[in-house]
């Protein structure tokens, strides 16, 4: 370290330090001779206090001298400069400098009341201020969506200062390896700096995720060959560790066990703390804005290093678009303590059950078991039972799904049913003694997944060995959304179904689009699905009472009926809206295509400000996109017939770049070694080992002067 002065001319003031000595020598008062009788007492008193008085005298002299010397030195503004830094700015001449400012999300970390970004920006500004007027420089702000751009070094320091001043921290990731590479390339391509040394200053928090040390370190390509730049790392954290706890995952899956619109919500909490955190509050909120309310308050055990999953359950009161958010208590890095999720909660399914074979005995009634299954508390459907004779008073369009149970014929209503399915309705057909394949072929040919053929009897019910001879479900499409709930032992409930009689189907037409979900063990279809128009049709080739099959008394019947009702109504589809990472373009679909004049008017960011959306691309039916830059819930306003309104269905969640939550820091030596070792790179900072940075000594000197002044006053008094 070497000492230099900002105002060396003012060092003449140091002469003032000699004043106490001069006063002592030239203005020393001669003691007045005074005869006194009790001189013995004075001699003894003086002997007792002589040592203390001499010490006090010396201290007083030192304090006065120090007061004047420290004040004079402080005015001269001394500073300590590391030898390397002194050498860099000294004999080797001017240097072209590239300053890289880390604006990644981890720089939002707050230490001592300031964010690391603010500290880094000040460091970068100071580094810029220390450059001479003959030293060109460039500034690279690294982070967010933008590809790092490094302009050639220029002498316009005012512009560079403005860029640093206007730089803002982002919620995205920073690839400092790329950014330093771009900065070094700019130095290499600089015409102004060809004859100069090349310096690279990086103001960062030294988090490991920002660097790819397996890539080669940047070098300046010159005609004489590649040379390493002189690198100075400005550690914004000043060597401090950066403990953090964050939410790294947040998913919601439908869970019928929770309720009709129940969800199992899993939050993944990561910890990077000195010690495990017990009972960290984890809050689950539902809704957004003023309607937001706390749904669940839970506690999580955050490990010191690693992650833990916390599963919560919530049953939504109503269907439709919903917003969930999970929050940990805000810590030093708050951006990753809250995650938002948007959901499309299934609406209530209105089911019309057409009973083709009503009976006064409940157990023999064709609709008894279906009604019981659909009316259960966890069922998404609300069934309405109607006899086949009373079908004329019913309008299919009022329902989401229609169950035809052993219905002989629909007659005039068949056309309406076809229209209902074509426009998106669901249809479930079960066979029975009443069903006439010819009539079905005549009335509902377009709806049937496959033409009905004849009834096959596998075994006569009640005869000896009938149970053994009965057909069983053999080939099941377990991946089908309606059947995917049967996993593990639950499949037994489906495989144990015994069917004594069932309808055979004619060979499927190639273009019928039928899909067999379940087959009997003889290969005959048991459950067949087909898409018709915008709707779906599922045909069950046996009965939903106990006449032809015992499925209705198996444990699989109730969940299967509920899932089939949901599937047919379209409520069961996987329409999970994955959150968008920050800075990833989000395509906004055009809502309500039925209304031609509907278009996206604006997007409201989580901070409440409206953002522009990209202009619709030609031929894309008005599809627009936006690149969100803030994590949180983004809401979309649509213009419908000239009126703007928020459309909750289009709201989407944006997550910060969670790579930045991993705040583990690199060993400075690791990074300096990557840049070429101590001869090329060094870490500046306030750490005791920190070489390099100038220490503002004048403030310490003023403190010394103040202390000397107080000491002097104390000694004199």
């Amino acid at each position: 370290m070497s000492l230099s002065f900002l105002h060396p001319a003012l060092l003449w003031g140091l002469a003032a330090a000699a004043l106490p000595l001069a006063i002592h020598l030239f203005f020393r008062r001669r003691p007045k001779p005074t005869p006194f009788p009790a001189i013995d007492f004075i001699l003894r008193a003086r002997q007792e206090t002589q040592r203390r008085l001499r010490l006090r005298k010396v201290l007083l002299f030192v304090a006065r001298t120090a007061l004047l010397a420290a004040a004079a030195l402080a005015v001269a503004r001394p500073r300590l400069v590391a030898p390397e830094a002194a050498a860099a700015v000294g004999p080797a001449g001017p240097a072209a400098t590239a300053i890289v400012l880390d604006a990644s999300a981890s720089m939002q970390y707050r230490l001592g009341g300031r964010s690391l970004f603010e500290v880094a920006r000040d460091d970068a500004t100071e580094a810029l201020a220390q450059l001479g007027s003959d030293e060109p420089a460039t500034v690279v702000v690294c982070g967010g969506a933008a590809v790092p751009v490094a302009e050639p070094p220029s002498f316009d320091k005012a512009e560079l200062r403005r860029r640093l001043r206007e730089a803002a921290v982002t919620y995205g990731h920073a690839d400092l390896t790329s950014c330093t590479g771009a900065a070094v390339r700019a130095l290499a391509e600089s015409a102004a700096g060809q004859a100069m040394r090349r310096k690279l200053v990086v103001a960062t928090d030294l988090t490991a995720v920002a660097w790819r040390l397996d890539a080669p370190a940047p070098v300046v390509t010159t005609p004489a060959g590649p040379i390493r730049p002189e690198v100075t790392l400005l550690d914004a954290a000043r060597g401090a560790e950066l403990p953090n706890a964050w939410l790294s995952g947040f998913v919601a899956d439908p869970d019928p066990a929770v309720g009709a619109r129940g969800y199992r919500i899993t939050a993944t909490v990561n910890g990077l703390e000195p010690e495990p955190v017990k009972d960290a509050p984890l809050t689950l909120r539902v809704g957004s804005g003023k309607d937001q309310r706390v749904a669940v308050r839970a506690f999580a055990e955050i490990p010191a290093t690693g992650s833990v999953k916390k599963t919560l359950a919530h049953d939504f009161a109503a269907g439709g678009p919903a917003v969930l958010s999970a929050a940990l208590p805000a810590d030093a890095l708050a951006m990753d303590d809250t995650l938002v999720l948007t959901l499309d909660v299934p609406r209530e399914v209105k089911a019309l059950v057409v009973n083709g074979s009503p009976s006064p005995v409940k157990q023999r009634d064709e609709a008894f078991y279906v009604e019981a299954a659909l009316a259960g508390p966890s069922s998404p459907a609300r069934p309405t039972i109607v006899d086949a004779e009373g079908l004329g008073r019913v309008r299919f369009g009022d329902y989401d799904v229609v169950f035809l149970l052993n219905v002989r014929s629909l007659g005039a209503k068949a056309a309406e049913l076809v229209q209902f399915v074509d426009s998106g309705g669901g249809l479930f057909m079960a066979m029975g003694d009443e069903v006439d394949p010819d009539r079905y072929e005549a009335e509902m040919k377009v709806l049937l997944p496959a033409p009905l053929h004849v009834v096959k009897t596998a075994a006569e019910r009640g005869t000896p060995g009938a149970a053994a001879r009965a057909a069983r479900f053999a080939e099941v499409d377990w991946m089908h959304p309606a059947l995917a709930v049967f996993t593990g032992p639950a499949r037994e409930g489906l495989e144990s179904v015994r069917t004594f009689r069932y309808m055979l189907l004619k060979p499927e037409r190639k273009d019928a689009g039928a899909r067999v979900l379940v087959r009997y063990d003889d290969g005959a279809p048991a459950l067949v699905e087909a898409r018709r128009g915008q709707g779906r049709v599922i045909l069950y080739t046996s009965t939903v009472d106990r006449e032809w099959s015992d499925w209705t008394i198996r444990t699989s019947f109730l969940p299967a009926m509920q899932r089939l009702a949901g599937y047919l109504s379209g409520a069961l589809e996987e329409r999970r809206d994955w959150p968008t990472p920050v800075y990833a373009p989000r395509i906004l679909p055009v809502p309500g295509t039925a209304v031609p004049d509907t278009r996206v008017a604006a997007v409201v960011a989580p901070d409440g400000r409206e953002r522009k959306v990209s202009a619709p691309e030609p031929g894309q039916d008005g599809v627009v996109s936006i690149t969100p830059d803030i994590p949180g819930l983004w809401q979309v306003k649509v213009s419908e017939n000239g009126k703007e309104r928020p459309d909750p269905r289009l709201s989407f969640a944006v997550w910060p770049d969670l790579r930045e939550s991993d705040t583990r820091r690199l060993e400075p030596s690791e990074l300096t070694a990557w840049f070429g070792g101590a001869s090329h790179a060094r870490v500046a900072g306030d750490k005791p080992s920190g070489e390099g940075r100038q220490v503002p000594l004048w403030s310490w000197l003023l403190l010394v002067a103040l202390a000397a002044f107080l000491t002097e006053g104390l000694l004199v008094s």
Binding site: P33, P35, F36, I42, R46
Partner: protein, 301 residues
Amino acid sequence: MAEHEKSLLDPEVLAKLATLRLRVRAVAEGVLNGLHKSPHHGQSVEFAEHKEYAPGDEIRHIDWKAYGKFDKYYVKRFEQETNLRAWMLVDASGSMGYRGDERRLSKLEYASALAGTLAYLLVRQQDAAGLAVFAGSVTRAVPPRAEPSHVNAILETLQGVRAGGETRLASAVDLLVERAHRRSGVFVFSDLMDADERVLRLVAELRRRKHEVTVFHVLDPAEIEFPFEEPTLFLSMEDSRSVEARGRDVRKGYLELLERWLEETRRVCAEADLEYVLARTDRPLDEVLVPFLARRERSAA
């Protein structure tokens, strides 16, 4: 009038009086006035005889026991004591020449005024008063006598004394051991700054020889309060020693040592049954003498 008389007894006023005689007279008158005001008086007389009461006699002198025995009023008659011999030992060492303020008396002048006044009062009541002036040795001695003219001899001797030399109270004690064979009153006027720290033990020897010893410890206010602030070269008044010190630096230590010394002096006096009177030279002399004389009257009664 009283104000005028009181002012006459002030040391600053006394200092302006040219001669010791004038000072002694001024002080003696003041002291006598003070004593007349006291209820205790007439103690220096002895019972002589009875006299039949006649109008004009003091009623308080009626002997009621005699009345009970003889059924007649008799009045007690007294005669004055004339057999007290008193020695004034006045310290005239160099340190006694100190005065902290030019307007005040020096310690020697103050001691001389005290000794002269006492001598005057003693002779006035027909006691014998003598004088011994000492420094390193007894320089002058006036044997005790009761004639009124003897006071002049004492005062003239005191008037001619000059401070100088070291203090050696033992020399005066030796003189008294040698000359005072009968029981006497001994009045020591000194600052007690003797080279021999056991000086009071020697004085106590006089008490063991049945003499009634009173020590007037004469000190200047500057010695008691040490008002010095600035750097000062203090010169010894009895030898060649000197010390340079800043007054405010050594004051605390000096005052502690002085206080310990005064305490020790009082304790030794009390143990040896010596009467101790601290005489500050800024105090009016009657304030020193009247309480002292009053105490003596009470003890005699």
